[in-house]
């Protein structure tokens, strides 16, 4: 068993045993089962150009609009729920048992039915623990009706649960199992249910500090005027005891600012120290002040209070402030009058300065800002060198020297990772700060601060994340639109657009129209961006509205000779596809497809014909143009052409020129006929003369043409 290997080792060790030092073996490093996975996940980040992993990995099933994302995710989840229902209903059909260890995740079970379960305290406690509010209420009622003794402790537990959830089941945002409905499900907070189990329990239990506090807090959480009144009465009645912090928070949040200040003073006298929720509630009540200056003053006061107590204001405080810095009446652009416009601008500037202060505060905590700034300077220098002189051997050594220097510089500054603090969520509304702030910055068109905000959000120190499919996309949408608006360079727009759409930002009408506007306004030519905008428009269903027209216009503005060969191919396929789609839409004449039908308008036809001639499909273009002249096409059941409107003159002119160039008499005549629908004789005569000159028109045809023109009205 020892073998040859062991023996030789013995010999070698024996020879060197003199200097053999005492070997210290390090203790074994204990690792949890997920340590390796965590380490691996830290090495990768999300790829914003790739589709989200929740979707089927096929180009046609990847959603590009926000609504599509929601629909697909929910559809998949509903499928899963259906399967799970089946499995809970018939467990004997799913009784394959070869898994070791036993996996309860694959053995779903029905929730305990309150009518069938044992009427004991234990089952009630179990229901309370698993937060089945309505079931536990039913069970409690059943216990009472069967006169089973329920102890004070259990009643108190039940009261806590029922008061917190207003005697209804837990809201969607707290569902643990199904992520789709947790993110996409919308629910309002609801009003307090009077006469429910909560009220009943409140009556039966002794009125201690705790129960009264719970009741007050619950009445304020699910507030309407009645419940708030009741809460205030309860508070007044219970002056002898000491109400808890949460009740104070609730009362403060539900009352006006002056009353809130009084409550805060009383809280102080009772020696209860406030927490962030208290300040959130104070801010919330301050936000109800209608006068603008007072509101701002109140906000500043509260922030100063927080600093006094040596606490850090959480992002949720900033959220409430930023949300209420601009009067909601002034937000809508159409409804603003002259003097209102001024006050709006004033408020906007104030809001921006507040936000800039807040962002600097947050960054001051994170302390990564300085390092980034310094490295940025050096990287700019390095990039410059790299671009210009990397081939020269002399300069190359200089380049390396600079690089070393920057590296050593940062090391010498003592900027290390241990100094950084994490930005962690304190309440459930902290993440909304980012969205609101970005909204204000969008209104103020302040790109610098928006960039700063985005860097804070994406930094590794920040652990406050918005829900991906809903809130985050609004955040990035606002950022993207702001960034696109402010930059003149199409390359930068292309960079931004390609990196963010459709993963972070869903395709939407305002974004696409903004991109088209920028493309028209710019003198640069960027075919990939235009193509991508159009393709996204196709998938987002933007073909049939104003944006469809815009697409046609943009495509006709593209100068084909500036495109490369592959780009020209792309252009051709794109135009063919678009025209085919529009024609197909117009041909939904059957009953069941009628509501989907979009008839071709004459301007649409002329533009499509123009595009087709540009890519070289004359035949199809003329077929399309003939539809304009065809009476059957625009009237009756099988109509595919919109009867009103007329062809675009510039399109028709270009088609005419093109026909002349090709000496195509028939085509030219067609264009002429269409033009004659709107133009008068004076305009048509020169065209006819040119036709007679250029194309080989024989006597007969020339006579017909001139006669045709003479018949036109002046």
């Amino acid at each position: 068993m020892i073998g040859r290997i062991g023996l030789s080792r013995v010999l070698t060790r024996g020879l060197s045993s003199g200097e053999a030092a005492k070997l210290t073996i390090q203790p074994a490093i204990e690792r949890s089962p997920t340590d390796l996975l965590n380490a691996l996940s830290e090495t990768v980040g999300p790829d914003t150009t790739a589709p989200h992993f929740a979707y089927i990995d096929d180009p046609i099933t990847i959603p590009s609009t926000q609504s599509a994302k929601k629909t697909y995710f929910m559809a998949k989840e509903f499928g899963k729920r259906a399967a799970r229902e089946l499995a809970t209903e018939w467990p004997t059909l799913f009784a394959f048992d070869r898994d070791q260890p036993r996996l309860p995740a694959f053995r779903p079970q029905h929730l305990a039915d309150p009518f069938q379960v044992d009427p004991t305290e234990k089952s009630l406690l179990k229901m309370i623990k698993s937060r089945e509010v309505q079931d536990s209420c039913v069970l409690y009622e059943r216990l009472r009706s069967e006169n089973v003794e329920v102890s004070e402790k259990v009643q108190l537990e039940l009261f806590r649960l029922v008061a917190y959830y207003n005697s209804s089941n837990i809201p969607f945002s707290e569902w643990q199992e199904w992520a789709g409905i947790r993110n996409f499900g919308e629910e309002s907070n609801g009003k307090w249910k009077t006469g429910g189990v909560a009220d009943l329990l409140f009556e039966t239990l002794q009125k201690t500090d705790e129960t009264v506090s719970i009741m007050i807090a619950a009445l304020c959480k699910f507030h309407d005027s009645q419940s708030v009144e009741r809460a205030k009465e309860l508070y007044k009645e219970h002056q002898t005891g000491k109400i808890h912090l949460e009740a104070f928070n609730g009362l403060i949040g539900a009352s006006s600012f002056n009353a809130a200040k009084k409550l805060a003073a009383e809280m102080n006298s009772l020696k209860i120290s406030p927490n962030i929720s208290t300040f959130n509630a104070l801010l919330f009540s301050a936000a109800k002040i209608s006068k603008y200056e007072e509101k701002i003053k109140a906000f500043s006061e509260i922030i100063a209070e927080i600093r006094e107590l040596d606490m850090e204001p959480a992002l949720s405080c900033y959220y409430i402030i930023v949300k209420n810095l601009i009067d909601s009446k002034l937000l809508d652009k159409e409804k603003r009058g002259e003097n209102e416009e001024q006050s709006y601008n004033k408020q906007l500037t104030l809001a921006v300065s507040w936000i800039s202060e807040i962002l600097n505060e947050i960054e001051g905590d994170i302390v990564f800002f300085k390092k980034r700034l310094k490295i940025r300077i050096f990287h700019i220098k390095i990039d410059f060198l790299q671009q210009n002189v990397i081939s020269e051997p002399i300069f190359r050594s200089k380049f390396f020297k600079m690089y070393d220097f920057s590296h050593r510089f940062c090391q010498n500054q003592g900027i290390s990772d241990e100094n950084y603090k994490n930005l962690a969520p304190v309440t459930s509304q902290c993440h909304l700060f980012f969205v609101e702030a970005m909204g204000v910055l969008y209104r103020a068109s302040n790109e610098k601060l928006a960039e700063q905000l985005r860097n804070i959000y994406e930094s590794s120190q920040n652990s406050i994340k918005m829900p991906v499919f809903t809130v985050e996309s609004t955040f990035y949408n606002r950022y993207l639109q702001l960034a696109i608006e402010q930059t003149p360079s199409l390359n930068r727009i292309q960079e931004l657009y390609f990196s963010m759409v459709p993963r972070l930002v869903g395709v939407n009408n305002s974004l696409t129209s903004l991109v088209f506007r920028k493309i028209s306004a710019s003198s640069e030519r960027n075919w990939p961006l235009l193509r991508r905008a159009i393709v996204d428009g196709i998938t987002a269903g933007q073909l049939n509205g104003v944006l469809g027209e815009e697409m046609r216009k943009q495509l006709s503005n593209v100068q084909l000779h500036t495109l490369g060969t592959s780009e020209r191919e792309q252009y051709t396929t794109l135009v063919q596809k678009l025209v085919a789609v529009w024609i197909e839409f117009s041909q939904f004449t059957e009953e069941r497809m009628r509501r989907l039908q979009r008839k071709l308008s004459p301007s649409q036809i002329s533009e499509c014909a123009l595009l087709l001639t540009r890519i070289g499909e004359q035949q199809k273009a003329y077929e399309l143009l003939e539809l304009l002249l065809d009476e059957n096409a625009s009237s009756g059941e099988e109509a595919t052409v919109y009867p009103k409107g007329h062809a675009r003159p510039w399109a028709m002119a270009e088609l005419f020129e093109d026909a002349l160039r090709k000496k195509d008499t028939y085509g030219a005549a067609l264009c002429l006929e269409i033009l004659s629908l709107t133009a008068n004789r004076a305009k048509l005569e020169p065209l006819v003369n040119r036709m007679v000159e250029k194309c080989n028109v024989n006597q007969e045809q020339a006579r017909i043409l001139q006669g045709f023109v003479r018949l036109r009205p002046q």
Binding site: G3, R13, A20, I29
Partner: protein, 158 residues
Amino acid sequence: MLKLANTVRSGLLTSTIRNVRTLAPTVNPAEQQQVQAVLPDKLYSSIEIEYRGHDKAVLKSYTTFLQQVCQHLEIPQGRLEVLPYIRWVQPALRSKFVHKKYKLHYETRTHISKLEIQNVTGSTASTFLEYIQRNIPEGVGMRVGFTELQPLPLTIQN
């Protein structure tokens, strides 16, 4: 202190269905606190990883993966052996009745490769093996053999 190589051959059959048993010593978490400071790391003079599959190309690509991992994580790699395949043959009679001479030939080939890792500690080994096993391709089975270094028993030392 004299040490003798004690060849401990513990076979660990890792198929791609069953739960993977890693090398980390299964310590009772309750006693972990007290034991942690005391239990020193195991030392392995060599770990032999033998992996089998039906497709030679898959095994070859997995071999390059393993070698790259050793290179990047700076784990000293020993020798790589590609063994000849093991063939399992079972013929079936071609005809329903009689005609023993005519058969259908069915066989299965299992290709085998062995890679050796030298001089690692227990923690390294467990992390390395966990990483390897999480990335094993489907249809490949792995078996690991350890050669541990242990101090001589006290009876011999004294």
